[in-house]
């Protein structure tokens, strides 16, 4: 039930954000649209643990700053390699284990790998993530498993 309420609140927020006009007629139109949308979502059975994962939103706040820092670091590295031909690239493919228990956790881990330039997730097979890396250094960065441990930690046992 709390998921439905939070979905309705999020949708109402989006409506208010996009409309920018706050008179009774338009807001009541918004309320009607939100109610209909939530009803359809309920009928489709998509408001569940996976479709609307409110349980990890708070923990994401502690994860994002770390992720941003990683993204900036690896961006600078890739940029240097693009600009100066003397720095070698050594593209490679390898698999690393993903220790997350839920699909949401694994998705976040795979997307984090992709977001960090220099590494791209090609495929997720069971609990193995197949990664393409631009350089040996960026490959080693993933292989240390620090990101994996971070994602698992904030995923928690929910």
């Amino acid at each position: 039930m709390i998921r439905y309420v939070s979905l309705a609140l999020v949708l109402m927020g989006i409506w208010l954000l996009l409309s920018g006009h706050y008179d009774p007629l338009l807001i009541s139109l918004g309320v009607v649209s939100v109610v209909v949308t939530v009803w359809i979502a309920a009928r489709l059975n998509v408001v569940d643990h996976e479709g609307h994962p409110i349980h990890i939103v708070l923990r994401l706040l502690t994860y994002f700053p770390w992720l941003f820092w990683e993204i900036i670091k690896s961006n600078v590295d890739v940029a240097r390699r693009v600009l100066s031909p003397s720095l070698p690239i050594s593209p490679q493919v390898f698999s690393v284990p993903a220790s997350q228990k839920t699909d949401v956790g694994r998705t976040i881990y795979a997307n984090s790998i992709t977001l960090t330039p220099g590494t791209v997730t090609i495929d997720v097979r069971g609990s193995q993530v197949e990664v393409h890396a631009l350089t040996t250094e960026s490959a080693d960065g993933v292989k240390t498993g620090r990101m994996d441990a971070r994602v698992t930690r904030f995923e928690g046992e929910s």
């Binding site: 006009h21 008179d23 007629l25 338009l26």
Partner: protein, 187 residues
Amino acid sequence: MNLDSVIDILLLAFMAVIAIAIVRIRDLFGIAMLFSIFSLLSAGVFTVMDAADVAFTEAAVGAGISTILMLATLTRTARKEKPSNSKNPAVALIVVFVTGALLVFGTSDLPRFGDPQAPVHQHVAPRYIEESPKEIGIPNMVTSVLASYRGYDTLGETTVIFTAGIAVMALLGMRRSRRREDDEEID
């Protein structure tokens, strides 16, 4: 030359380049993606020309929904275009050029872009601009014209689109269930 016109020219040049790329490549998946970017670029051009509502529709329908429909179609057909077997491409070229020339010739009669003296701006437009917020109570003028002043028109259009949507769904759904039966026979 200000940046606005630079952006204008570049966007149109990009559109031409992408159109040529669409003609040149044979992979239909790639073409679907290029079409989506083509629509997005036209949305950009509309944005530069201050036609926010048209750009909005173009971005949502042209770049979004039609790409999805094309992909849905592609899952039912082949991924590669057949090599063209037309004997005489010159005829097609001539037809295209004549049509294009006629269209360009036709524009010479049109009022200049954004001309306040143009006939469209003389008839009912002043009333829409001045009265519609009071008469209808919706801040967006385009919405009040479409949904109120020309409500029956819009109702008809919506019916057409709804019918088309149902027809597309029916076609796609039918093929899928037949294919599933095929699969079971093979397995």
